[in-house]
């Protein structure tokens, strides 16, 4: 099985087609989940409608168990990246400002275009491409001055809390499911 999947991974032509197919399935699910809508995303950021968090957390709740099982049986490798305050916290906050101003993120902006949102195309995509072009210009200096600054103490959660993978997953699942149950209980 392992060899079969390695062969698939190395087939560049097939991977181009798979990228398109994964995109189609992802876009379909984003639209069905309601999160390609500007209104739904802004209501989430104003904390009046928690659809975006419900979609994201259920994806993580299911995916975390699924991926750990696949890894346990040797079918996949994980690639968790290490991070820093200089990169993840600063970049994350800048992203958040853009998230609220635009009302879409890079995935949902593409999904919104598919549902007919013209502001996502002539505003969102144009802005994203300009923002990326500026980042590409400044990258050598941003990397030197920010990206490596203040690394986090661990790469994964289980390393941080010094627990084995499955116990950490049980703990994380309990926290996430508990949060969703609380949202439902509070009527969101």
């Amino acid at each position: 099985m392992g060899a079969l999947f390695t062969g698939i991974h190395k087939d560049r032509g097939l991977q181009v087609i798979l990228g398109l197919l994964f995109g189609i399935a992802f876009g379909f699910l984003l639209q069905k989940g309601g999160v390609t809508s500007y209104n739904v995303i802004i209501e989430q950021l104003l904390l009046t409608n928690f659809t975006v968090m419900k979609v994201m957390l259920s994806a993580v709740i299911v995916g975390m168990i699924g991926l750990a099982l696949l890894k346990h049986f040797g079918y996949v490798q994980m690639h968790p990246a290490s991070g820093t305050i200089g990169s993840n916290v600063i970049g994350g906050l800048i992203f958040g400002f853009g998230f609220a101003l635009l009302g879409y993120c890079p995935g949902t902006v593409a999904g919104a275009i598919g549902t007919g949102a013209i502001d996502a195309l002539i505003g969102g995509v144009v802005g994203i491409l300009i923002g990326i072009a500026i980042f590409v210009e400044l990258y050598p200096r941003i990397r030197t001055h920010f990206l490596g600054k203040c690394p986090f103490p661990a790469v994964t959660v289980q390393e941080l809390i010094r627990l084995n993978l499955w116990l950490t997953i049980v703990l994380m699942e309990a926290v996430m499911i508990g949060f969703l149950l609380m949202l439902e209980y509070l009527g969101y």
Binding site: V35, A59, G92, I94, I118, A133
Partner: protein, 178 residues
């Protein structure tokens, strides 16, 4: 069969069902493509291809394009795929509709399309810039990274929402006065 058709033509699914589907999709991406689902690198590739088309020599000098190579590959194709998938979904449920100024925006800031598009461009700029600064976006860090129990990804996702909630409240409650 009829039940499946009814399911596919529903306007929206429970966010838990759609989310669970996305979780399974990320697992399949690791299995079949040995990678997470992340959207912002596809935009880097698109931007790089545009720069390369305008001036190959200039784009060739950019260090960042050595790390994220501008080419038509999995990450690039994901973006048109999402457009097509959302189009199919919204057409099946009869929700497809051309909109220039969304309802939540016009309720506070009016229906002027120029204002909406200018702020959307500014937002996109911060979004693209911030996504590359943080090394990923809502899908790459927020979902795929968290699924791998990446500490950096979870912290990044919290910052996405912290920045987003702060700016949305400033925009709608302070500037908009709603």
């Amino acid at each position: 069969m009829v039940l499946i058709l009814e399911f596919l033509t529903q306007a929206t699914w429970s966010p838990y069902v759609a989310g669970a589907g996305i979780g399974i999709l990320v697992c399949l991406a690791f299995l079949l493509s040995n990678r997470p689902i992340g959207c912002s690198s596809g935009f880097v590739k698109a931007g790089g291809l545009i720069e390369k088309a305008i001036s190959p020599a200039y784009a060739g000098k950019k260090e960042y394009f050595g790390e994220i190579v501008p080419e038509i590959d999995w990450a690039f194709m994901l973006i048109p795929g999402i457009v097509i998938g959302a189009f199919i979904s919204s057409m099946l449920s009869g929700q497809f509709q051309f909109i220039l100024v969304p309802e939540m925006w016009s309720a506070t800031f009016g229906t002027n399309p120029v204002l909406r598009v200018l702020v959307a461009i500014l937002g996109g700029l911060f979004l693209g810039f911030g996504a590359r600064w943080a090394g990923g976006c809502t899908s790459g860090h927020g979902i795929s990274g968290s699924i791998q129990l990446s500490l950096a990804s979870m912290i990044t996702a919290v910052c996405f929402f912290a920045g987003g909630v702060g700016m949305a409240m400033f925009l709608f409650y302070v500037i908009g006065g709603a």
